[in-house]
Symmetry: C2
Subunit: 129 residues, 2 copies
DNA sequence: ATTCGTTATACTTTTAAAAATATAATGATA
DNA sequence: TATCATTATATTTTTAAAAGTATAACGAAT
């Protein structure tokens, strides 16, 4: 910087001059004791749907196969009927597909999620922060 | 159990017969890169307000003093003005009090939280799960 | 001046969650 | 019947977050 230019720095290191605060959040489905369904599980279901494989879905989400399997198993045993059916052996080594109930659950969650997005947007503007 | 009593168990271990699913969620305030304010921090502010002490607030929440201090410091440096002022030494060893801005932020967050509670209740009934 | 309980800060240890690893089971296909 | 990639499951290792520990600074009250 040439020495005939002078600057006055008003902001400081720890508190940037302009910060944009937004309202964000998460919704999920739970019982009295545990979480049943949320963001991550829905994405997992969707990736299983498009790949036909638990392993591929897990890889795409950088999640261990074990974790993916545990989540699916948990959902399958906590909804009235399973959301995912899987088979091992055969062509490709095995496969996993969504049940009609699984697809319905995804759609239902998206419906809620869309309403929630509207809520967040509406309440983000004019926040007193 | 006497042997003349017979029982028929219909539910199974992994899937209790009747499960009540409810919608739950959390909201918070964030910038593009980090969380600024949520549930826990609001509770911390409130407990500092009523106890006049960071240490007591932390103890009540079973949180380490360090964690409490870090959270407060983070808030103080990320809002336009500090939410908490603190002093060491003197009567009682030191103290912490909320600023007017701190009290305003609590009220503002509660306002949002109340609206969110309504949202959750409205969308919990008739959920397709 | 000494005591006291708290604030402020650095450093170490614990803990729980997630990932990684290992291995058996499976069934279509070549 | 040998191969293959995957499902299913147990066990071990890694990791990051939180808690715990230690210590200095502080100032009112005695």
């Amino acid at each position: 910087m040439p020495d005939y230019i002078y600057t006055l720095t008003v902001e400081n290191k720890t508190r940037p001059m302009e910060q944009i605060f937004t309202l964000n959040g998460r919704i999920w489905v739970e019982t009295a004791s545990e979480k049943i369904l949320g963001h991550g599980r829905i994405e997992l279901l969707e990736r299983i749907h498009q790949s036909g494989s638990i392993r591929q879905a897990a890889l795409q989400m950088k999640m261990s196969y074990k974790q993916a399997w545990d989540l699916i198993n948990h959902m399958n045993t906590h909804f009235k009927s399973p959301l995912v059916t899987s088979h091992r052996g055969g062509k490709g080594g095995g496969n996993a597909t969504l049940t009609a109930e699984g697809l319905r659950i995804i759609a239902e969650f998206h419906r809620l999620q869309d309403k929630f997005k509207v809520f967040l947007k509406e309440n983000s503007v004019g926040m007193g922060f």
